[in-house]
Every structure is written in C-alpha cells, then in structure tokens.
C-alpha cells in the first residue's frame, strides 16, 4: 500500500511534468514538482527507504532531462540530506517552516541549474531566459508549493500510510 502510494505519486508527477504542463502555455514555467515530494519522503520515511527513493528519482529525472547526467541526482541527494539535518533542530509540524523549505529548495535548484549552465556549459554566460524562468518558478512555488507539500502530508495521513519510525510521528502535521 505504502510503496504503491509513493510510486503512484512519483509517476503522476513525472508524467504531468513532461507530457501535460509543457503543452499548457501558462504552466510551462512550472517548478520541479518532485521537490515537495522529496521533502515529504525525507521528513516522513526512515532513511533506508527514503534515500534510495530520492536517488532513484534523481536518476530518472536525469534520464528525462537534457542537463548533465547527475544534476538531479546531486540536487535530490543534497536536498534530502539538508532536510534530514534541518529537522533535527526544527519542528516539522510548523507549516511556515515547511513552506519556506519548499520555496528555498526550488530557488536552490534553479541556482544549481544556472551554475551548471555557466560553469560546465559551452558558453560562460547567464542563459538569456534565466530571469524569466526563475521568476515564473518562484511565483508558481509561492502559490502552490506549500499547499502541495501539506496536501501530500494530509493525504498520507488520511490514507493511513504506515510510518516506520521516521523523524516525526504522523500526528505532527495536524
């Protein structure tokens, strides 16, 4: 049940990101919707389950994207480690904290993409569409990112997904 839930959500997010959003004019600037999901599994699952899952997601995204191989793998790994490290010191039940984590994660991913393009790309200059892409993604994540992450947590709770002693107890999310 639990694995079906995770794989189903992953597949759904991958498919809408690559086959539906690119064809809807207003949604072409959508942020990487797997970021809230990686944060979700980092918070809620034990490391032996969530880390392989995050790495597998990174690998698949690297396969589907035209960026250098390992870019998403790198980002999801460090996002996972960062979230795991942060929740040792901060309360995860704080909705404001979760919202900030999603927004910051999307911005950091964009910075990583820009840095990769500039330092490892054929031309050492900022992509011409950099400002537009970052602005669009920032506005989208501001509007939907926190809601999406909190919905994932609520959905997991409602479906009575079993928790395996991960960082916080399930009733921590209200």
């Amino acid at each position: 049940m639990r694995y079906g839930f995770y794989i189903g959500i992953c597949l759904f997010l991958l498919i809408i990101q690559t086959t539906i959003f690119p064809y809807i004019p207003g949604m072409r600037g959508m942020y990487d919707m797997l970021i809230p999901f990686v944060i979700f599994i980092s918070i809620c699952l034990p490391i032996r389950e969530s880390l392989p899952f995050a790495l597998a997601l990174g690998l698949i995204m690297d396969n589907l994207s035209g960026g250098p191989f390992g870019l998403y793998l790198t980002f999801y790994f460090w996002l996972f480690m960062g979230v795991r490290f942060t929740i040792k010191f901060l309360r995860v039940s704080n909705k404001f904290f979760l919202s900030v984590v999603v927004i910051v994660a999307v911005l950091v991913e964009n910075m990583l993409m820009i840095a990769t393009s500039v330092f490892f790309g054929p031309v050492r200059q900022l992509p011409v569409n950099a400002f537009l892409v970052v602005t669009q993604q920032f506005l989208w994540v501001l509007a939907t990112g926190p809601i999406f992450l909190l919905s994932l947590l609520a959905l997991a709770k409602r479906l009575n997904i079993q928790w395996d002693g991960a960082a916080p107890p399930p009733n921590a999310y209200g």
Partner: protein, 277 residues
C-alpha cells in the same frame, strides 16, 4: 584525535568535491555512466500512453466538433496549393537541369536518406534544457548523433537512444551547435541555441553579405545534419565596432512549442557513384 563533528565536516566536504568533479566530468564528456537509458525505458511507456490519450481526445474534438474553421482553412489551402503546384513545376525543371549538369561534371549523387517518423511523447521537465522524448529507439535503427528534422526545418539530434525510446536535444538548447550558412550569400557560421525561442548565428565574418530575412541552412560540415536543411531566418543583425564578426539572431522555422511528430534521418546507405553517361 579528531572529534566526531570534524570528521563529519571533512566527510561532507569530500563528498561535495567528488560530486562537483563527477558533475563536471559528465557535462564535459556527456557520459551517463551506463545509466542513461534506465529512466527512459521505465517512464516513457507511461508518457506515450498519456500523450496518445490526450491527442486522441483532441483529435475527436478537432475532427468532429470544430469543422467550421476547417472549411475556411480548406479554401485557403486550395489557393495555396494552386500557387505551390506552379512553383513545384518550376523546381522540378531546375532539379532536372541540375541532375544533367551533375552528370556532365561526373559528380557523386547526393546521398538519399532514409527517415523514420516518430511521435513526441514527452518534453524536458525543466525550463533550463530543451530536449524531447520520441517513441522510436534502437530497435528502429536510431542511435546517438542522428539528425532529427521536419519538412519546415531542423529539429535537433538524438543524444540518447534506448530500446524503443530516444532523447533528442533541440537546436535551441544551449549545448547545441550546427554548422550553417546563409543560403543566398553562402556566408558560414555556427548556429548556437540559447534555451529560448531564438538562436545565435556566430562567427559570421563582417565582410560577408547578410541581410534580415535571409534563410539560414545547414552546411553539412558538422557531419550530423545533411547539407541544405533549413534552420531559420535572420531576425536581427548587429555590428560592434571592434568585432570582426556579426551578432546575428536567427528565428527557427520550426515551432518547438508545438512539436508532435518528427523525422529521424538514418545514416546514408552505400552510395553508387554517379558516373553514368
């Protein structure tokens, strides 16, 4: 000797360094360490299913409920067709004359290319890179480096081929470069993507004649795109005083936002030397 905290910090620093080195290596060598096809094979069947379902629903809408605009379009197309029949006849005459002259000069025949039609089933998930996933792969004869085109112009090249699916880097991607020339004046340069809707046409010497609306075509010298394939039209030209090259912006003929089907050019078959009388 060392505290636990120190070991942790050193471990993280080493991990970051290794990570940056691997990322640098993979971006320079375009290597996927043998893992490049796993995700394609796993996710692409689902992408194909969703894309086909959406197109099926849209086709029903356009073919059965949207026929008023089709009638107008039909009239316009008939007018265009009449015009193109005349032009086609003219080109046919030129083609025949060209063949005769080539035979006289004992030239090798232009290679005939086999093409495979493929459907676009997915696009790059990020806004930073411009790639598409198509529903043809190694089993259809595709491999890395093959040119992908449309009748209107160049689309890109295959950068990863799995069993039944392939990833194609579009011409507008920042990592793309096409050896090109202006069709009218034969001025040569390199078309580079900008990850936006337009491309830059670089290294065109200012001594050459380039004008707005000139057509830019592939020169064939990069070994990927056959000579003569259309790329785009010159949209803007600027000249800096100290520079020996033009700064040219090219608007591609292909609308990359609306790509649905593409043609992949397979490697040319053994050509017979045209030395017939």
């Amino acid at each position: 000797m060392f505290s636990k905290k120190m070991v942790l910090i050193v471990g993280v620093l080493i991990l970051i360094t290794v990570n940056v080195i691997l990322l640098s290596f993979s971006s320079k060598s375009q290597s996927t360490f043998g893992l490049g096809r796993v995700g394609l094979s796993l996710v692409s069947p689902f992408q194909e299913l969703v894309t086909r379902s959406i197109r099926f629903a849209r086709d029903i809408w356009e073919h059965y409920f949207f026929l008023v605009t089709v009638a107008h379009e039909n009239e316009n197309l008939k007018k265009s067709l009449n015009q193109f029949v005349g032009e086609s006849n003219q080109w046919h005459e030129i083609d025949m004359a060209n063949s005769r002259l080539r035979n006289l000069l004992n030239f090798q025949k232009a290679p005939t290319h086999k093409v495979v039609a493929a459907e676009v089933i997915g696009k790059d998930p990020s806004g930073w890179f411009k790639t598409i996933i198509i529903d043809k792969g190694k089993s259809d004869g595709l491999k890395k480096g093959l040119a992908v085109v449309l009748p209107t112009g160049i689309v890109g090249q295959v950068i990863e081929a799995a069993g039944h699916y392939s990833k194609v880097m579009l011409v507008i991607d920042r990592n793309s470069a096409v050896d090109a020339m202006v069709q009218r004046s034969r001025a040569r340069g390199i078309i580079k993507g900008e990850s936006a809707d337009q491309c830059r046409f670089e290294f065109v010497l200012r001594k050459h004649d380039v004008q707005i609306d000139d057509t830019v075509i592939a020169s064939g010298l990069d070994g990927v795109y056959p000579k003569g394939l259309r790329i785009g039209r010159v949209a803007d030209i600027s000249q800096r005083n100290a520079d020996i090259f033009y700064e040219i912006t090219v608007a591609p003929f292909v609308d990359y936002e609306k790509l649905e089907e593409v043609l992949v050019i397979l490697p040319p078959q053994a050509q017979d030397v045209a030395s017939q009388p």
